[in-house]
Symmetry: C2
Subunit: 147 residues, 2 copies
């Protein structure tokens, strides 16, 4: 049975840290530290996905705009074209999507509403479990050790 | 045949972007952007591993010390206790190490000299290849389709 986004959310929970687009990058620094995470979903009302703001987005903006950009609104630095995923997506699909576009965080949407977030770290942890279980089952079938 | 660190380096190359401990965080922003990467190995001479400086280290320091910390030396913000890996380590070992300590980058050392770096993205890419190949071989053995 393949690991899906729903499996991952059932284990880690559906909580997502969001920030409003008009809050500042300084506000974002506080939230990232408080929750010990690498990205925030940008949302007007806590339910829409208007963008994503990662550590990388902040670091790149500091490079291009200098240190005073920390007073800028989140909307100026966020990634607006967000890749999202759905409850039924498998870990294979997640890994492929993250690898292709070099995204480390994918918000989970149900309809167009935010329903969770998965990080590359979450996917790796579950993918290990999944594939080790599969390989073990096949080995047992081949060697007959389970019969 | 398990994917090892050496396999990954043979594909991606052994180049590592380093920064001196007395360079500033502002210098680090430039290097991270130029190379489009998420972490720099901190090294006095380009061969020792004296620390690692990630986007997270910079973002956390900005949170605790304010925007003027960008003039601080790298040594003030870097992670000094670095987890490293070796050419013979398998992708399983890398994933476990990255998951346990939530590190996304592991410098590769040969003796005590820097020999490359692997990111969680590299490991994911190769782990997919490895396990899909294994699963396919086992399926073929079970179904006899390769005989």
């Amino acid at each position: 049975m393949a690991v899906t986004v729903s499996t991952i959310l059932a284990s880690k929970g559906a909580d997502v840290s969001t920030i409003g687009p008009d809050q500042t990058l300084e506000d974002a620094l506080v939230l990232l530290a408080e929750h010990n995470i690498g990205a925030l979903v940008v949302s007007e009302d806590g339910g829409t996905v208007d963008g994503i703001l990662s550590e990388r987005d902040i670091v790149r903006r500091l490079h291009t705009h200098g240190r005073d950009c920390l007073g800028d609104p989140v909307r100026a630095a966020m990634t607006s074209e967000v890749s999202t995923c759905h409850g039924g997506d498998t870990s294979d699909q997640l890994m492929a999507k993250m690898t292709e576009r070099r995204f480390r965080h994918l918000p989970v949407v149900d309809g167009d509403r935010l329903a969770g977030i998965v990080s590359i770290g979450d996917v790796v942890r579950f993918r290990i479990l999944e594939l080790e279980t599969q390989a073990q089952s096949l080995r047992e079938y081949v060697t007959g050790s389970s019969y």
